[in-house]
């Protein structure tokens, strides 16, 4: 999967939970789930579960700790897919 394909997949997963449309329209690797997209922290877990389902992977506590922005989400998914 290319970087762009991965970002597109993540965008689809994140979309239902965002609370800032403008930041979502400009989404890039540096976009922060909470600071930029204003995603409620209780919904971060839904994003984590949706990522697990979409890519058929399981995230551990250490992975969850870093799940604060697009870049980290991409790194975690890539690492799991390569494992």
């Amino acid at each position: 999967m290319t970087k762009d394909e991965l970002i597109e997949k993540l965008k689809g997963i994140i979309a239902p939970y965002i609370q800032d449309e403008a930041a979502f329209a400009n989404l890039n690797e540096d976009t922060d789930f909470v600071k930029d997209l204003k995603i409620n922290s209780a919904n971060l877990v839904d994003i984590i579960l949706d990522i697990e389902d979409e890519f058929d992977i399981r995230l551990e506590n250490e992975d969850m700790e870093k799940m604060l922005d697009v870049k980290s989400a991409m790194a975690i998914v890539n690492a799991k897919l390569e494992a």
Partner: protein, 186 residues
């Protein structure tokens, strides 16, 4: 130092389905899940424990500036009727207020009575809510310190930790909003 968190119960019910597979297991320890299972109103208990974890996290990062997402590692523990949240070596006391509409949790390093002041919003626009909360907090501090609100400056650190600056003082504060409700403490 203080950390607080509010949950609008109606919004939480609408936005999250805590019964979806693996949801509880991602956020709560085995003991917490047991406590939820045995509670009278499971939905309320889920959101109470959640807000306690959030409040404790907000206090923790003031003491140890950082940013991470580890709700499961912040464990809620009840001693008699006193709630504590433990994370590694860190431990804090929680006060909780529950109504039919919202749950507020406040975390401090010592046992305390709730000081968080509630704000009911007219609209659900997040930016205006943040501003209203900051203005109300600023007004409160100006009264207590007998200074003008103009001399109080609100700042957020790189870790998203809020602080109020005035004169040469830095005051630890905590602000929270969710749905129709907000609260601040200092």
């Amino acid at each position: 130092m203080v950390g607080n968190d509010i949950v609008d119960i109606a919004k939480a019910k609408k936005d999250s389905n805590w019964q979806r597979p693996r949801f509880l297991d991602k956020l709560f320890t085995g003991k917490e899940q047991e406590f939820i299972k045995n509670s009278e109103d499971k939905t309320i208990t889920v959101w109470q424990l959640w807000s306690m974890k959030e409040a404790a996290y907000k206090l923790y990062v003031q003491k140890h500036p950082s940013r991470f997402y580890a709700p499961k590692q912040f464990e809620c523990v009840a001693h008699a009727s006193i709630w504590k949240v433990n994370y590694k070596e860190f431990s804090c006391y929680l006060s909780i207020k529950k109504t039919t509409d919202y749950i507020v949790s406040e975390a401090r390093l010592i046992p305390h009575k709730m000081t968080s002041e509630l704000v009911v919003f007219k609209d659900e626009n997040l930016k205006s809510q943040s501003q209203v909360l900051r203005d109300k907090l600023s007004e409160r501090i100006s009264k207590i310190e007998s200074i003008s609100t103009n001399s109080i400056e609100f700042q957020k650190s790189e870790f998203d930790i809020p602080i109020m600056k005035f004169d040469s003082k830095r005051m630890n504060v905590s602000l929270t909003h969710h749905g129709r409700f907000g609260a601040f403490a200092f």
